[in-house]
Amino acid sequence: MKFLETKGLTKAFGGLVAVDDLNLAVDKGEIVGVIGPNGAGKTTVFNLISGMLPCTRGKTYFNGETITGMSMHQIAERGLARTFQLPRLFGNFTVRRNMLMGLHLSAETGFWKCLFNSSKTKASESKLAARADEILEEVGLGGRKEELAYNLPHGLAKTLQVALSLGCNPALLLLDEPMTGMNMEEVQEMALLIRRLRDSRNVTFIIVEHNVRAVMGLSDRVAVLNFGKKIAEGRPSEIAQNGEVIRAYLGGTDDVA
Amino acid sequence: MSAAFGQIILTGVTMGLIYIMVALGLTLVFGVMRVVNFVHGEMVMLAAFSMYYIYGVWHVNFVLALVVSAALVSAVGVFFQRYLYKPLKYDMDSVMICALGASYAIKSASWLAFGPVPRHIPTVFPGMLHFFGAFLSKERAAACVICIALTAGLYLVLHKTKMGKAIRAVEQDSEAAQVLGISIDGVNAMVFVIGCSLAAVAGTFSGILFAVEPEMGSDPLMKCFMIILIGGIGSIPGAIVAGLMLGLIDSFSETLFSGEMAFIIGFALLMFILIVRPKGFFGYDISELTTRRKE
């Protein structure tokens, strides 16, 4: 069995079928890009896998167990984290505090321990603080720890979002448009970051992205969605030639090489 | 018993319609600005008092008196919107407290001003109606008719006129509406004018049916909030369904059980409905909006 596998995943909002019988399989350590024109249901796929939305039909297997019907935090506990299209952050928190929050899963949250602030709690908190700083340095937010999150520029907000999801040291990371609205070098940095994470921590990535060129450059495999259906899957080079994909994109974004 | 049964139904419907009349203005304000406008009850009360004096004491023509008191109350409402709620950026919590304080102040002021005697607006429609076994006074019938007319009118205004469309646009998404060049302030003021005029009508009729006194507004207010939330915020059909439902519940439980039992049943049902369907019958999920903070 694959690392992550969806079998016949389907989501219908009333009449409209957003995701239709999607079968997607990802191996450990892969970087898979999911592309498609607007409203192809890419984000919905993420919402289904991460448990944000209940799926109408189908199953999702992760790491050997079925995670369908689990709530978001249970799935996160199993090492499947995600980011959001529009960066969601704890706006009134400082960056550092955001990151501390991101480390929730490895934190001591026993009510009485917290109430009496036992030495054990203190110790774990200080460990976490160190971890947080470390991660922030790694993603290049080291300089802005004390800023309030909602003052961050778009690019950095997205980076912080990724950092947050790294907090629950995931085995699989779903990135929802990590590069959209970034300028060229920000895109480069993000791509580098993703590669580095894959190599250093052996994280598997699924990336939904509009910036097709970047995805093509970044991912090992690419799946193309249109109207909730998977119309093509394969290596970036093959996809680029795939006629159906190009047709799907005609009149869509002009990013296709 | 069948006669009594018919009476219960009839009572319930009329009660419901009267609740709705008060709730309409409130649901509009709540829907568009997402503020818990505790002063609305005081608007009802002030309108009733001005009706009492203009129509009941100085014997001005009924419609004219109604228009005048509606104008007066609207002025007050717009004042609140402009000088209290806008500076507070329509932030839910602070506006709620502010409105609460204002309503305390207005109430005690009017106890001082109007004295302890409960007043009564002389009825315009004397006499009784009598359909198969059940009784209904003409004034109640009139109130119901007016309420239905108002509801329909409001619905048309919101869905047909340009202004109404603007209001609904703001209700859905004020930022987007702003981008479309709709003046939020204008819309808000307009909403307050409409809401207060509705309150004026409601006040007039509850003054005719019941009593005119400083506390008359606060009592139905909680009921109206229930109606709004059960029906779904900003939804007129929702308000109608919820209003009629509450009216019938009250009528039945008060007729068949004692006072407290009715009280208990009412709140138990409210809790149940909100737990089962938090967004109300016709409501969209406003939780994000109501809990949002200015950042």
Binding site: - | P116, M128, S206, F210, T255
Partner: protein, 395 residues
């Protein structure tokens, strides 16, 4: 944290600066008025305030002597908002002001205080109901200044005599202790007089729509509906509703505001209603004088609470004079012996036979009726003798 500290400190200073200016006006006898001046029941408070105020004016025009020193009566008003906690705070405030005689409105507020007022040796006058709390040997310092459920002992025999055709009675009362006490008394009286109480309705205080209650009662077709201790607005609305759903029988309206009742219920609905213990048309010169005073100052209709709260003040002052001391206990004893010619007629403290202690003010009850849209004087019922009462409370 230190913000809290500094805030608190400054507040406390300001606080003691303002309230610490404790009053000390010589030769003023202060009666603390723990009235409901805001909130749903403010009607009572404001009306009572008017009566007491006027009484004080009249008294102070001459003043009175205690132990050879000239005194004037001063009323200090506190707003209890019909909340027990507020009433308690008011009490503390009054203790702090050295006030030892208080006048509390409504049982909801006065009952919680009674334990404390007795401990503090304060004299409490109240209009609240509640037999074993306000009028009992346990609390010799608390008095009920307006008979409430006791009026039934006078009214029901009168009814039985005057309207023998009344066989079935329906009682309506608010769901609170006052209501319960009232309905118990009235139901028992009716039973012992051979009438049948076929309905005993409790409605929620603050309800405005009485169609449901009316529907229920009309279905039972009683000869008379007794509004019990239902007050002002509610009586009128309920009467109106009853007529509208087709009730044909009589009304017995207790402690009403006749004018307001007619205005709100409407002439036809109010027609023929019997008004118990209310002054409809002023008969005696005293009533006339008060009536004219009120109408001149506040305009008609006159609220009955105005009359009710007028005389107790005089009774109190009489007691002070008689006791010739400022000690609440002595004043209380004196009060039990005072006989005062009140607006209603002779007023005294009695009901020992029922409560085991004289602590309820007794007075004749003027009865009225509404004839072609006007409240008319009908009769005056003397306060029942203890034998009559004994007959009415036997079971």
């Amino acid at each position: 944290m230190q913000r809290v500290l500094i805030g608190l400190a400054s507040l406390l200073l300001l606080f003691s600066a303002v309230t610490g200016a404790s009053w000390a006006a010589p030769k003023e006898l202060v009666l603390g008025c723990n009235f409901i001046l805001s909130g749903p029941a403010a009607t009572l408070g404001i009306a009572t305030q008017r009566g007491a105020e006027h009484a004080a004016e009249v008294i102070n025009s001459t003043g009175f002597k205690v132990q050879g020193e000239q005194y004037v009566l001063k009323l200090e008003y506190f707003d209890s908002k019909y909340l027990p906690a507020e009433g308690m705070s008011n009490l503390e405030k009054m203790l702090n002001h050295g006030i030892r005689y208080i006048f509390t409105l409504s049982s909801g507020v006065s009952v919680p205080l009674v334990e404390r007022t007795n401990m503090a040796k304060m004299l409490q006058l109240t209009d609240g109901s509640g037999a074993d709390h306000l009028t009992s040997p346990k609390y010799p310092l608390s008095f009920r200044v307006t008979p409430n459920n006791e009026t039934a002992y006078a009214v029901y025999p009168w009814l039985a005599k005057k309207y023998p055709q009344i066989k079935t009675i329906a009682n309506i009362n608010p769901t609170d202790e006052a209501g319960f006490t009232e309905s118990e008394t009235r139901v028992r009286c009716a039973k012992n007089l051979g009438m049948k109480s076929i309905a005993n309705e409790m409605y929620k205080r603050g309800a405005t729509d009485f169609y449901p209650v009316a529907t229920k009662i009309t279905a039972l077709k009683p000869d008379m509906v007794d509004f019990g201790c239902t007050l002002g607005r509610d009586q009128a609305l309920c009467g109106k509703a009853l007529r509208e759903v087709g009730y044909k029988g009589m009304f017995l309206v207790n402690y009403p505001d006749p004018g307001a009742f007619v205005e709100m219920a409407g002439r036809d609905a109010a027609e023929g209603a019997i008004l118990s213990s209310a002054i409809t048309e002023p008969q005696t010169p005293k009533q006339k004088e008060l009536y004219e005073f009120y109408v001149k100052k506040f305009g008609s209709p006159v609220i009955n609470k105005f009359y009710d709260s007028y005389d107790p003040i005089f009774m109190f002052v009489e007691a002070v004079k008689k006791a010739n001391s400022l000690d609440p206990a002595q004043i209380a004893e004196a009060l039990r012996t005072v006989r005062w010619d009140s607006v209603y007629g002779e007023m005294y403290v009695g009901m020992e036979s029922l409560y085991g202690i004289k602590s309820c003010f007794c007075r004749p009850l003027p009865m009225g009726i509404i004839k072609n849209g006007k409240p008319m004087y009908l009769d005056t019922v003397a306060w029942p003798s203890s034998e009559v009462i004994a007959k009415l409370v036997r079971d």
